[in-house]
Amino acid sequence: MHTELELTTAPEVPIEAECLSPAKIKGLSQSGIEHLVMMHGNRKVRVGDFFRVTGNGQSSLRLEGDLSRVKYIGAGMKEGEVRVNGSAGMHLGAGMSGGVIRVSGDASDWVGPEMSGGRIEVMGDAGHMVGSAYRGQRVGIMGGEILIHGNVKNELGSAMRRGLIAVGGQAGDFVGVNMRAGTIVVMGGMGIRAGAGMVRGSIISFEPVELLPTFTYSCWLRPTFLRFYLCHLGQSGFEIDDDHMGGRYRRYCGDSVEENRGEILVFDSR
């Protein structure tokens, strides 16, 4: 059983809907959900003003419609499931520590900031700052998985500390900037300045990468850990071919302006 919310009125300005998360609706009646408060611009509105609600509050929430102007879906969730049939707005799953969010369309900027656990899957594209630290913060996501099947824009996983971010398509500039640790896999190529300021952690690219001069070639290898990761991603719906699974990767270490303990693995050959 799940609770279904269908967007019936398109918002003129973004809605901040921290209440659209299983913990906030669980146990509420249908009218209880309709009366939850969201911010529409600088005005308070009710969920019922914009959504048609079907069913009581369950730990599984299904959202229908173009929610690209609905922010903070699944923010702070600890368990349960949110499924968005359509697109999702900014700050999707902000601060989540458990549970699953699945988006069938695109997601906007700031997917999963301050995440510490759980999983976010986006079948389409996502915006800038996916899995990144909020401005000013020294450390970004502390765990969990963010899986984007399409493309993402700049600063993927900035300052991330732990966890896995995978991108099926292309990534913009500054992948893993200021990264502390964790793993980023990008399958469709990435922009310039990948790993700038990274301290530790691994960035894996299936396509050639234009590297910063502060990264140096160290060796080639067939990393065992990567097979496990790629198997896991294969099971999650990514298409991984055998070449990448068992292939040779060139290892570059950096960023030497930091501790030089990070690595960028670039697929080389079978």
Binding site: Y134, R135, G136, Q137, R138
Partner: protein, 557 residues
């Protein structure tokens, strides 16, 4: 300002008004038209203060709450604001908090601690206009600032040439032009080393500053003498050289001695009371420092206490922040033309850290060894030692021996073994707290109508629920009355208030301007005519009278 005819009777509270010798006496405080009076009509609104503590509003003699440096810190720490939103109420405006709150939140948060006046301690003349504009948006409290002159190249040139009278006139001109309430020196002479010799600093106050043929100590002494002779209401406000370095006790003592009997105010002296070898671990130097202060009545000081938690180093002492910065910290260093430098760096004091614990302990030691609360005042050098929001906790540490020893048990034990704090069991009384947070700062600043509740005083009044837990008590006054207008009632804001701008106007020969103008046109990036802060920037303001000048000038309304 309260409308004419507004009358209040604060009935039956225990009044602590040390300036008038009232120590916990149960009596009424009467208010009319924003002032304390001795009689009100039967129509006066009555506040029942039975069992409560009534004090004048707090006066913060040294903090950093406005201007470019505070803005740098605000911009540098978005994470700090995001997690501390200050919502609007029906009568007050919104803002964000953190260590350096936005202007509105700064005013309201001072008010919720019972403070009704605060003085920004470091404003370069070029930034004065910006500061006054921010002050206009810093509600409830009255405010003023000290103008930074301690590294002013023009003034140093005058000193080099021995032109004493011109030097005095120039100081007076700058105070008047910037609309300051006092003169501030920060690490005098250091900017020349810092800017001219690449990242160097003054280490010996008796070493000559290259182009000027005089030592930092001579420069400091000249300022102290000139400011005293100008009869400024507040003496020279001095941030000594070698802040934060082990073994800086001697520098601080030398600086105080250089005053030669003239009035001088040593700022955040905790940071200047470190014994030990330079470059080695900090030892406590509080005894030597406080002995000198106890025995020399020309010196006043504020402590600049440290409290564990988030802080932000924010100072005109640029080399200091350069020294403190470490890998991965954000920091800003800035140069203010021919006047000053600046450094800003977020910082966290940790109770597990030896040095931080030592700093915390030295601040308390200085207070507990002080014999004259009228000359040793309360401050954290907000936000350098701690945010002003830690004041209630620090007050409790001074007033509650049990709380102090409990806290000593939780901090770095090596530091506790090396300091004097465990041997000190003095507890501050409410009257002494009223002196160090209110009466003494007002007196040191020459604010004759503040810091007390005598007839004629400004009706800036705080009423606290008497509570054994002094932290809880000072954290939330039940009522705050500003200029005769109730601002907080039963812990809730009931009204807003802009607050007044306080500055002073020393007498001087206006001909000095003709000397400054050519220098200015040669070396500054803005026009001389745009430098002086004109009267259109002064909102509700008041000129603090010069010492011994008798009649009080009043500002416009």
């Amino acid at each position: 300002m309260a409308e004419n005819g507004t009358e209040l009777r604060i009935k039956g509270g225990k009044v602590y008004d040390p300036a008038n010798g009232i120590d916990g006496e149960v009596r009424d405080v009467l208010v009319r038209d924003g002032r304390i009076v001795d009689k009100v009509s039967g129509k006066a609104r009555t506040f029942d203060a039975h069992g409560m503590v009534v004090m004048p509003g707090g006066v913060d003699i040294h903090c950093h709450i406005a201007g470019p440096k505070v803005n740098l810190s605000r911009k540098l720490q978005p994470e700090d604001h995001r997690l501390d939103v200050h919502p609007a109420t029906d009568v007050t405006r919104s803002g964000v908090g953190g260590v350096t709150p936005s202007t509105f939140a700064t005013g309201y948060r001072y008010a919720t601690l019972g403070y009704t006046a605060a003085f920004d301690a470091a404003v370069p003349p070029l930034a004065a206009r910006h500061v006054i504009e921010e002050f206009h948006d810093t509600p409830v409290i009255d405010k003023g600032f000290y103008v930074l002159l301690g590294n002013n190249m023009f003034l140093y040139d005058l000193l080099k040439q021995g032109r004493k009278q011109d030097f005095k006139d120039a100081i007076a001109w700058w105070v008047t032009a910037a609309r300051a309430a006092g003169v501030k020196l920060v690490n005098a002479g250091s900017d020349e080393f810092w800017k001219g010799r690449r990242n160097e600093n003054v280490t010996d106050v008796n070493e000559e500053i290259d182009p000027f043929d005089l030592t930092p100590l001579q420069a400091t002494a000249a300022f102290i003498e000139a400011v005293d002779e100008l009869n400024l209401p507040h003496p020279t406000h001095i941030h000594c050289n070698n802040l934060g370095h082990s073994g800086n006790v001697q520098t601080t003592l030398d600086t105080m001695k250089s005053a030669e009997g003239h009035r001088a105010h040593i700022a955040h002296i905790q940071f200047h009371s470190y014994a030990g070898e330079p470059g080695k671990r900090v030892q406590t130097g509080s005894e030597a420092i406080i002995d000198y202060i106890n025995n020399n009545e020309n010196i006043t000081t504020d402590i600049g206490m440290v409290m564990f938690g988030k802080a932000t180093a924010m100072t005109a002492d640029a080399p200091l922040t350069w020294m403190l910065r470490f890998k991965d910290t954000k920091w800003v260093n800035a140069d203010t033309e021919c006047e000053s430098g600046c450094g800003v760096m977020p910082f966290e004091y940790q109770d597990t850290n030896y040095t931080h614990t030592m700093q915390w302990a030295i601040g308390l030691e200085l207070f507990l060894l002080s014999q004259d609360p009228w000359r040793v005042m309360f401050s954290t050098d907000h936000p350098n030692g701690a945010s002003f929001r830690t004041y209630p906790r620090l007050i409790r540490l001074l007033m509650d021996r049990g709380f102090r020893s409990e806290m000593m048990g939780r901090v770095n034990q090596k530091a506790i073994k090396n300091c004097l704090l465990p041997q000190l069991d003095r507890e501050y009384t409410l009257s002494e707290i009223a002196i160090i947070t209110r009466a003494a700062p007002a007196r040191a600043l020459g604010l004759v109508n503040k810091g007390h509740l005598g007839v004629g005083a400004d009706a800036d009044i705080t009423i606290y629920t008497d509570d054994e837990n002094r932290e809880r008590m000072f954290n939330a006054p039940r009522y705050v009355i500003k200029a005769g207008k109730p601002i907080i009632e039963d812990h809730e804001f009931v009204d807003d208030h802009i607050g007044r701008f306080l500055h002073t106007e020393p007498e001087h020969d206006p001909a000095i301007e003709d000397q400054i103008r050519p220098f200015f046109e040669d070396y500054y990036s803005i026009q001389f005519n745009n430098y002086r802060v004109d009267a259109s920037y002064l909102h509700d303001h008041e000129v603090i009278p010069l010492r011994n000048s008798g009649n009080k000038k009043k500002g416009n309304k």
